[in-house]
Symmetry: C2
């Protein structure tokens, strides 16, 4: 049940597909040379495999414990967290001004993938802290930054995001928590928040809650939400911890997965009011949340990839070790099940999609870095458009695929997969939340077809399709060596283009019917973008082999790309048909007759 | 979290698609008239909804408890089982000779679907008992039948099937349990069996274990396996219970799902030998197992359908009740989420596939009855061939689809779906075993392409395709009213025919590569057969409407069939491509480079 980070494939993607060298030339990222990044990845791999991975199963089995408004983490988590913070991992891509290491998102994406593969429940604590850090970095006052950022970036304190309320899940317009201004310029916060990840725990000295609430005179709906910082312990002017704030964890949820991550119900202000300060301007809380949303959605997409990798490693190890049944063509003795064609198909389905997801995710991280740091405005804008288009795909497609892969991981194990001690089922349980939190797949897909594709008439999508077509042209030049990659990618792109044109042209006229195809379109874009990445990978591998490279990694990469084209890309035309012709029948039956 | 059996759709399928009236004309089934069957279904629905369904969630949460070689069932299970047996449900399709009611499998299929929807963990006890009854009915001696069958059919005693051993999961050739003949004609059984469902529990007076073991002089492999009956308590000549036999549950598994179904490790003979008697002839145990295998696989297929129905009912109720977000085209106030197009798409995806699965499953049950009871040998043979072809599809496709549907059920619930108290996650956890036990999907698919399609050169498949084509011709005559049903079914059939021809012609020459496409082919056949059934349903509904029927059930059935064609059938050509062109790439990478 161990985990060995796939550093080789990560470095291949970083360098050959996601442009690490170009990112390292952006102002501020000069230190992120290939050698430095590889050294960072090797160190992270040691920590992930040696410290976090061994706590994954025990953490799941033991779970978190709530007692008298406090949460006890499973054995080993507190020590692991201290070590994590001491090693500087919390500061990786934070800005240098308050102690961050300022590395590109491209690098932190690879490192984060490792934490999530090794121990997803653990990884959520630094993930949420990073979200809170980013909010304070972008929108906090100088005083707030000085008060909170150094200790959050060092990992001494952790952070949370308090959005959801019982009546306000995906719909933040319905938020009711309120903030009363005090004479000293602070606010008293009242309200209950649910689904608060790491809202309470015993791994850090203080917890910095970011809380959405309404001011007394706030307009209704999303335009009346403000963002506040509400620490568990108030912080004195000298930086030391003061009184316990009126922010308490009143219960934790009993969940399907991520048992070692406390999901808290938080009560603010039950005993007089939780003291908080306003972040940025009144009534702009939602805007600040949206700034961070891309990062959060991207990070959850990585979870789909990361759990897939973990499930694959475990299934592969079992398939090599478990001897059962004769070979299908006959054999003198029973063989390891990895020899059985259907087991091989499942493992290849896992492997090929993992590599496609990784390539797409890292390419998006690279574009994100470029969008922030490139000196040329047009280049920044072009990359930001790509990121905006692809964020819902990274979130939606990687997590939906991650669930399928974790499911296959159980299947490879046969009956043992259903037994909790095996550990394969945990990945499936843990993965199940990823298509839901930070916006369900349906919400991602609505964002994709509405705000991303239809609003701009499909402009960015067309640009991306143009890039995909250039890759096809290169594959065509390469000839028969790359099998059906070119032919299947071409069909996939045609299906994507047709579906995209349909959405861009019909969305305004019949938004309901077009929206029935939203998730199928998201999957279509994911599958084709993944096929594009795998084709690019195959072209690079072919070039390296032509240069004399003999490492079988490269031939394997080509074979994996051929498999992806033959087994995954072929679903594209069917999905396009659903998008184009499936709207009316999705809505035909009135709700009372369903 | 209740369950209301879909009696209306069940009766529609029984009468209009599965030929209940024709089955009721078979010798021995004369009592199964439409009115009688409907009354049985109504009674079963009351028991399922009123007694079994309320214990489903509590049973999952409480689980079974092992203590000192005994298993305590969750609260309420023992009482529910007594009531179940007293009401005669255990005897439904057993032969009348020993107290059975002798109803057709077609009827018991519908009734069993209800037990499994209401409480899958509970349903496994009578399911296993039925398997043991069938084995004894078919292969037992007169003495064995008299000793065991009346009490098993009345439900006073339950039964188990003891096949698997740690080193022998899917591969029964590796079985090591042994049987030593005694001078009195009995045998002493020694060995350990794992994954024994209801191997021990407190709901019945006695448990009748059927055990696979080897005689001292038995040949190696599957040709040396014999079947024994080994009761928990020995039965005296007068039928009363005697000594406790040396057959003990030494532990139970900690599983992902079906927590209320004890999965036992059974130790036979640790204290001198478990007393058993041989069933049938020596070394023919595997043959007897194969006789029952179709029934067991069929029953597990029903579990996929049944859990889908339960997940659908729960998701639909939540979607109607949960108010969140504005309508996508704009609305004054938040709306119930059933109004959101993606929620509607998910619910329709569940509903359409459930109805297709039910129609296919019941049609196969009907053919099974006909194969047993039809006076004409050719008719029996024709129906048996259909059953043989379709059993792996019912097992494989219904359970894989059942997992997808239970997954969607969680997704409809959003964040609440991940919370165990909601109950949606339980269906997903429970469903996970169905693609594994009684032969994994891979094993079903190998059986389908090897023993069913390739061995006979695709003959039965071609006959079935012929029937499908007649349906298309009828749909074509019906005109535009049935939307794209005809066009999409035609494409699906063409894809199926092409893939089937490929398998039949290439299997002998390259069994490994063809087998990579086994599961995709099984899914292809399932999807197209489901589309065929839905097209037949739409034709019937159209005829009823033309006759003046105004019940919206019929228009809804047509809309559901149109949805199925537009959203599910369209995947067929892509699957055929995987079958035909995906073999080589599935095997290209050597196992050490995966």
């Amino acid at each position: 049940m161990g985990y060995a980070a796939p550093v080789k494939d990560m470095m291949f993607v970083l360098k050959e597909l996601a442009g690490l060298d170009q990112v390292a030339q952006l102002p501020g990222y000069e230190e992120a040379t290939s050698d430095v990044v590889e050294a960072i990845l090797e160190e992270a791999a040691k920590f992930a495999g040696g410290v976090l991975a061994p706590l994954n199963f025990s953490g799941d089995q033991e779970g978190t414990k709530w007692h008298d408004k406090e949460v006890t983490m499973p054995a080993g988590f507190k020590e692991a967290y201290s070590q994590f913070a001491e090693s500087g991992w919390t500061a990786l891509d934070c800005r240098p001004e308050h102690g961050g290491q300022g590395l590109p998102r491209l690098v932190s994406a690879a490192v984060r993938e490792m934490w999530k593969s090794a121990n997803m429940a653990f990884s959520l604590c630094p993930l949420l802290t990073n979200g809170a850090i980013e909010a304070l970095e972008l929108c906090g006052s100088t005083e707030q930054k000085q008060m909170y950022l150094p200790n959050m970036i060092s990992g001494k304190w952790t952070g949370t995001m308090n959005l959801t309320e019982p009546q306000a899940g995906s719909d933040l317009a319905a938020i009711r928590s309120r903030a009363e201004p005090q004479v000293d310029g602070t606010y008293k916060i009242f309200g209950q928040k649910i689904f608060i990840t790491y809202g309470e725990h015993d791994m850090a000295e203080n917890i910095v809650h970011l809380v959405l609430a309404r001011l007394p005179d706030a307009p209704e709906g999303v335009k009346g939400i403000s963002l506040f910082v509400v620490p568990k312990f108030l912080v004195r002017a000298d930086g030391s911890l003061g009184d316990r704030n009126d922010a308490w964890c009143v219960s934790i949820e009993h969940k399907l997965g991520i048992h070692a991550s406390p999901t808290c119900v938080m009560a603010f202000g039950d005993s007089g009011g939780a003291v908080g300060t306003l972040i940025g301007k009144p009534n702009e809380g939602l805007k600040y949340m949206f700034i961070m949303m891309n990062a959060a959605r991207y990070a959850v997409g990585l979870e789909g990839l990361a759990l897939s990798e973990r499930a694959y490693q475990q299934a592969l190890a079992y398939a090599r070790e478990r001897v059962q049944g004769r070979a299908i063509e006959g054999s003198a003795a029973p063989v390891a099940i990895v020899q059985h064609p259907d087991i091989r198909r499942m493992l290849m389905t896992m492997k090929a999609q993992i590599e496609a997801m990784r390539a797409l995710a890292y390419a998006v991280a690279s574009a994100h870095d470029t969008a922030f740091h490139h000196p040329d405005a047009a280049e920044r804008q072009r990359n930001q458009a790509f990121v905006d288009l692809m964020i819902p795909v990274v979130k939606g497609w990687l997590t939906e695929t991650g669930n399928e892969i974790a499911y296959l991981g159980v299947q490879v194990h046969g009956g043992m997969g259903f037994i909790e001690e095996t550990g394969a089922a945990q990945h499936m349980r843990d993965a199940r939340i990823t298509t839901i939190y930070e916006g369900t797949t349906g919400i991602q897909a609505n964002d994709l077809i509405g705000r991303k594709v239809a609003r701009e008439g499909g402009a960015t999508l067309k640009l991306v399709i143009g890039l995909m077509e250039s890759t096809v042209a290169e594959v065509d030049k390469a000839g028969a060596e790359l099998g059906d990659i070119g032919a299947n990618l071409k069909k996939g792109i045609a299906a994507l283009a047709e579906a995209g044109t349909y959405i861009a042209s019909k969305y305004g006229a019949d938004v309901r019917a077009v929206s029935v195809g939203a998730v199928p379109f998201l999957k279509l874009l994911g599958i084709v973008a993944g096929g594009w990445m795998m084709a690019r990978a195959a072209l690079v591998a072919r070039a390296r082999i032509a240069e004399g490279e003999t490492d079988p990694f490269y031939a394997t990469k080509i074979s994996t790309a051929v498999f992806y084209a033959a087994h995954v890309l072929v679903a594209a035309p069917g999905l396009a048909q659903v998008v184009i012709a499936g709207g009316a029948s999705g809505l035909a039956i009135p709700e009372d007759l369903l």
